[in-house]
Symmetry: C2
Subunit: 185 residues, 2 copies
């Protein structure tokens, strides 16, 4: 079954008209008029996002590197895997290396690409590229100005338990763990 051939997809919606309705410091918002499969028109509003990476980084002691970071939209801190936005033109593996080092102070000798996820298909075009990193060495933090976070670690069993008991609710973190689990001892 093909799920990516929108040209022949009977469910496809076709753009009639597109307008950028908000150009913020962080977010760009687009509103399109679209033609639906029944020929009627509707409106689609969504965030345009440059894409991101997330890293399952495994230390030599088999513990996974996590962060605790304050997430303003929800007004509290979250336990999450290291992640960050892709710079314009940046290779996704370079981005993963950069974000892991900047946020946690680790560099990794071994990198494996695990796939892509889409966090918010209803109103964002964001994709998040997922990597597994091992052979870690600690070379020290390089946080961006105005970035604040704590670095911690969980064993695989602790991470899975934290998903199941609701301490981890961030979807990119849970999705990346799902894909990494068969590769973790």
């Amino acid at each position: 079954m093909s799920v990516d051939d929108s040209v022949s997809d009977p469910l496809a919606e076709v753009c009639v008209d597109s307008e950028q309705v908000f150009d913020g410091v962080l977010l760009k918002l687009v509103r399109d008029r679209v033609r639906l499969p029944d020929g009627k028109e509707s409106v689609r509003e969504y965030v345009r996002h440059p894409g991101a990476v997330v890293v399952v980084a495994v230390r030599p002691d088999a513990r996974i590197v996590f962060e605790r970071q304050f997430r303003y939209p929800l007004g509290r801190s979250f336990l999450e895997l290291p992640a960050g936005k892709i710079d314009s033109g940046e290779d996704i593996l370079d981005c993963a290396r950069r974000e892991l080092r900047e946020e946690t102070g680790y560099v990794a000798a071994d990198w494996q690409y695990l796939g892509v996820m889409h966090p918010c298909i209803g109103y964002s075009d964001e994709r998040i590229e997922i990597f597994l990193a091992s052979g870690l060495s600690d070379v020290g933090h390089q946080l961006d100005d105005g970035e604040f976070l704590e670095v911690l670690s969980f064993s695989v069993a602790e991470a899975v338990a934290a998903v199941r008991d609701g301490r981890i609710t961030d979807s990119k973190t849970i999705t990346a763990l799902f894909l990494a689990l068969p590769l973790l001892s």
Copy 2:
């Protein structure tokens, strides 16, 4: 460890000023000036969302109900679990029952709450409440006007394989499967 006590959280960001910068047909966007932990100010822009539900619905033959739905922001169809936005004042279980019936034509005798996920903590306050539904009977579709989707089903093994081979990349679907798996035979 507490991750939900923002009052005493050393990572907390405090609202200085808040403004709704876009009020669309579907999306509301907010821009706040915030005070960072180091006393400096920054800007946070995010989507205000009413919340949603997602349902892992298991048929009597042990197959899980999926949908294929066109997602305009990404220009293609996605395989996903039944889901939808919570109406103003609506109970989350009522919402889950309503969305399952409207989108797939199934009603369920047994409902179990599995927890909450956050799809997009960087720029949305959306939460998605996760339910497991079983004891299904098919009573026929009631799609919203302008809603188009196909209903299909996967065995548990097929669903896990589709996550691992990249046919399923929707984060709410993968997260809900992660939480439901220990409860599925």
